[in-house]
């Protein structure tokens, strides 16, 4: 029988005492997932802009494709990446398997669909008149696109936070391509994989402490999301305080 209460008490002790092993794992998690999201944003944001601003055939198919990929099981992606990075795989020569780099790349790929899907809908939900407005004030095509992107900034931030949320909490990719290596100079164990390792080893206090910290991080992230949404809601209310009263609004004349 596991001593749960004793474990929890010990866990708090570890958290409060600032145990280096514990916080080493936390900082690795934050570093890997943070870098992954930044990396994914570097290609995800331009891609989202491309999809949102350009009219092309198959646009709906592409959008559906990315929103479907949000639900991709992380172990499946982990397995695919393992096969690609392993010695016999197409990118095996890079020697990336079981390194921090492979975790960052894996998580970046994992969150790309989130960044693109939310990003595209954020850009598309900006009043189409903003684009025309910027142009009538002298903006070039790309300057007008940036003006629209600025209006979508809340949605873009939201997509980044949601991506980080997903990355830090996932297990499949970090376990399969990271390898959960807990020693040496290139450690690849992070919050989720370390929890599973300590639990298996019976070091329940450590597992609980890590679990609590993971929950705190995710809670903090969600708090930010809620506050951001609330702020957004207030802005929306202020924008049209009498929207409820408007039974019918004359259609803008052509």
């Amino acid at each position: 029988m596991v001593d749960i209460l004793g474990g929890i008490a010990k866990a708090f002790e570890l958290i409060v005492s600032g145990d280096p092993e514990l916080y080493g794992i936390v900082s690795r998690s934050l570093l890997f997932s943070g870098t992954a999201v930044i990396l994914a944003a570097l290609w995800g944001t331009p891609l989202a802009m491309l999809i949102a601003f350009k009219d092309f055939r198959g646009k709906t198919v592409i959008k559906t494709f990315f929103s479907t990929l949000i639900g991709l099981p992380t172990v499946v992606l982990g397995l695919i990446l393992f096969l690609i990075f392993s010695r016999g795989g197409p990118l095996g020569f890079l020697g990336l398997l079981y390194t921090p780099a492979s975790i960052i790349i894996g998580q970046a790929i994992l969150v790309t669909p989130i960044l693109i899907s939310i990003g595209v809908s954020a850009i598309e939900s900006v009043d189409p008149e903003i684009m025309d407005l910027a142009k009538t004030l002298g903006a070039s095509e790309s300057q007008a696109q940036i003006a629209v992107l600025k209006e979508a900034i809340n949605g873009i931030l939201l997509s980044n936070i949601a991506s980080f949320n997903r990355a830090i909490a996932e297990l499949g990719v970090v376990l399969l391509v990271g390898g959960n290596i807990a020693g040496g100079g290139n450690r690849t164990d992070v919050l989720t994989t370390a929890i599973s390792r300590y639990t298996q080893r019976g070091e329940i206090d450590f597992a609980i402490a890590l679990g609590i910290l993971l929950m705190i991080i995710i809670f903090a992230i969600n708090l930010v999301v809620v506050i951001a949404r609330k702020a957004n809601y207030i802005v929306a209310l202020v924008k049209s305080p009498f929207s409820k009263m408007k039974r019918s609004v004359r259609e803008t004349e052509r």
Partner: protein, 353 residues
């Protein structure tokens, strides 16, 4: 006389709908030209073409004598700007909104600050720089939009129903601004309107529009003088009705505008007539009021839209009348859509054109 813009045989087709049908129009330097016509007559489309954000399906636009290449309008767009009917603002401060166009033109910061301040003074919004633009009232927002356009000092200023959604106070401020920048800064202005009063007062010339065509162009007096020819165009303008007048024994006239609606006017008229009633001159009540007013009609509220301090209602009494009442009256009377109401106005408040 210098021509600022010339539209030659302009046609615009959306899908299978022809919005502009072979439009020819010359806009003279320094004038205020009003496009007057009902909703859907193509006014906004002309303005968008003049702002170079919409390209004509066929035809040619000449700006200051040069043919406009609609495949590349980035340069020519700097010479023309538009204020939309539906106020569009960036979700940032008033300053950033007004300074946006100047930034696009790479105007240095000190000049920008100065120009923004001047523009805000012009629209009577001094020291509003730091306020979040979208938190302002509707009228103030529209004034920010005007200031944002004025600050650019473009050759051509386009206004799409600049006062349609404003209460009289804000509308008055804007009309004053339009007049001032035209007289003092010699800005050429093209404005779309379906407000009869505005069309008679502000512009030097009027282009009457109907179903994508310009039916008449000329000085206001001239255009209003040729009523019979343009009856159809006038008919769709707000609170403007066409009908046949018959003199009454009492020395007034009754104008039958159709659907059983007969409007009594003080002028003695006979035959085809156009009448106009200012929305502010109409009294709205829940039951018929006994008064000296000669025109009382029973109808139903078919549309409610709110302006700043006012509510604009459309009442169907056989013909649709636009009525303006204060927000306070609106809530105290407990009005809602489809409510039965009476409208009352004096024969002497009916303008006969």
């Amino acid at each position: 006389m210098t021509i600022t813009v010339e539209l030659k045989d302009i046609t615009k087709v959306y899908g299978n709908k022809t919005v502009l049908d072979n439009v020819n129009l010359q806009i003279r330097e320094g004038e205020i030209l009003a496009l007057l016509g009902p909703n859907g007559s193509g006014k906004t489309t002309i303005l968008k073409i003049l702002a170079f954000i919409e390209n004509p399906t066929s035809g040619e636009v000449k700006f200051q004598g040069e043919k406009v290449n609609f495949k590349n309008t980035e340069k020519v767009r700097l010479q023309s700007t538009i204020v939309f009917q539906k106020t569009a603002l960036f979700g940032t401060s008033v300053y950033n909104n007004i300074a946006y166009g100047l930034k696009m033109r790479k105007v240095p910061k000190e000049t920008r600050d100065r120009e923004v301040k001047k523009a805000l003074e012009l629209v009577k919004l001094e020291s509003f720089e730091k306020r979040p633009a979208r938190k302002l009232s509707g009228g103030e927002q529209q004034r920010v939009a005007i200031a944002r356009a004025l600050v650019l000092k473009t050759k051509l200023l386009l206004l799409d129903e600049p006062t349609a959604n404003l209460d009289p106070k804000n509308a008055g401020i804007l009309e004053e601004v339009i007049d001032t920048v035209n007289r003092e800064n010699k800005v050429t202005i093209v404005m779309a309107t379906h407000n009869m009063f505005q069309a008679k007062k502000l512009p030097h010339r009027i282009a009457l529009m109907d179903e994508g065509k310009i039916t008449e162009v000329g000085a206001p007096a001239e255009v209003f003088g040729k009523l019979s020819k343009n009856l159809a165009s006038f008919a769709a303008v707000e609170n403007t009705f066409t009908g046949t007048a018959k003199a009454t024994a009492a020395g007034t006239s009754k104008v039958d505008v159709g659907n059983g609606v007969q409007i009594e006017v003080t002028a003695q008229r006979q035959g085809a007539t156009v009448v106009f009633v200012n929305p502010q001159d109409i009294i709205l009540s829940k039951s018929a009021v006994e008064s000296s007013a000669r025109n009382v009609f029973k109808g139903k509220i078919i549309e409610i839209s709110d302006l700043d301090s006012l509510v604009k209602l459309k009442v169907d009494v056989g013909k649709p009348f636009t009525v303006q009442i204060t927000k306070r009256s609106f809530s105290e009377m407990g009005l809602r859509l489809n409510a039965e109401v009476f409208i009352t106005f004096k024969a002497s408040s009916v303008h006969v054109l």
